[in-house]
Symmetry: C2
Subunit: 270 residues, 2 copies
Amino acid sequence: MTAIAQQFLAPSNFILQDKDAGRRSFSDLGTKEEMKLKTTGLGEQIAAYQEILYAQHQHKLLVILQGMDTSGKDGTVKAVFGQLNPIGVRSISFKAPTTIELAHDFLWRIHQQVPATGEVVIFNRSHYEDVLITKVHAWIDDAECKRRYAHINAFERMLSETGTAILKFFLHISKDEQKLRLEERIADPNKHWKFDPQDLSERKFWAEYQDTYQEVIHATNTELAPWHIIPANSKTQRNFAIASIVTEKLARMDLAYPAENPALYKLKVE
Amino acid sequence: MTAIAQQFLAPSNFILQDKDAGRRSFSDLGTKEEMKLKTTGLGEQIAAYQEILYAQHQHKLLVILQGMDTSGKDGTVKAVFGQLNPIGVRSISFKAPTTIELAHDFLWRIHQQVPATGEVVIFNRSHYEDVLITKVHAWIDDAECKRRYAHINAFERMLSETGTAILKFFLHISKDEQKLRLEERIADPNKHWKFDPQDLSERKFWAEYQDTYQEVIHATNTELAPWHIIPANSKTQRNFAIASIVTEKLARMDLAYPAENPALYKLKVE
């Protein structure tokens, strides 16, 4: 069986515009409801793996989610990782940096949150914002941007070589799909908390963001920490794809409960 | 005037054994008492620079002190940085890593402590312990050690390129000098708190530590973060050398109070 991850790995020199955000990669897997059930099944598998990962206390898994506003980063966390025991998983949402964070290098706040052995950590936005929004608005110049790519690649190499498995996902939606989702947020009072008027001003830079995402993914698409491009107009397709890739990764991580300790059997509990 | 730092920069391919720990680099600067006064004067200058560095809130200075037990790391902090306003300086002593620290990559606890803009931070021991004691006792193999050199160099490059000036000092004492200092600690009840019986067992690995220090300094002696080798059998000579190098560095950092704000003059305080 071909690994599902393979289909989604960003090829070198891909053109983001040619990637169809509406592509249905799993058309043969039944109805929407059936696919949701399958994703829930994968979520259970991920939770089972994570129990072993936690007990084994040896591996670390870092999942990085990036995408335009409304691309479904929060929804992915819920659908794919919602069944994990909170004791061994942390979801970190990186917002606009604080004064103290800005007084340090851009990787300072990121490094503090990387997984410890036995942990799964999800970055909901990440250090990639420091080469995205900053680039689009020309807060940094090209030379600084190139230096940051090198810093990111060195940082991820270090994490990887010290035992952290890294999965990077770009949730790819179309401009039309974002329109629908923003309108939905505006129309539904229960979704008003998710709406930020700034989303509308950032939407004006849609083309610039697409170009920048493409450049960033090209520049940081390394063997140790490759990018997956996930067509994300369909939430069902998106969740199934990511859940599958995470499951595959965990399946290959050589997870096992620590060996039995024969000495324990002789102990008397009084 | 030639910069004092130049004399102490580790040349590529130097042999540590050929470096005289007892060398008196400043024989023409008067008596011991006169030199101590000069060091105090430099300490005042450093304190004055630091006030500006703090107000300017733009530069960061990281000083890394490494050396064998008793080589004078604590003494250097006191003699060179003792006059700084604690508001803008932090001295961090890295001890044996905790369980939580060991569950992360070796740079995790280090990165958390790097200076923010406006700060001077002194590392009393550092990430270099992770290629020293670990190498001497073969807790890591050569391949892992080489990977760590690369991680350290990439990390220090990132810090440097994001605005942190880095000064690295190896306090070089002789084995005989260490003997005297350990005996002093044993003989003086007021110094017992500084004595750790483990110092005696580590002393047995003296030759291995010298070899490893030489290799480590060669491998991490970069243009952006060069090593200074400080003959440290004489505390007076050591302190004067380090105080001079720190002063020189600050003098070249383009420190200045932020520009006046003419609008302020029009303000009325009621």
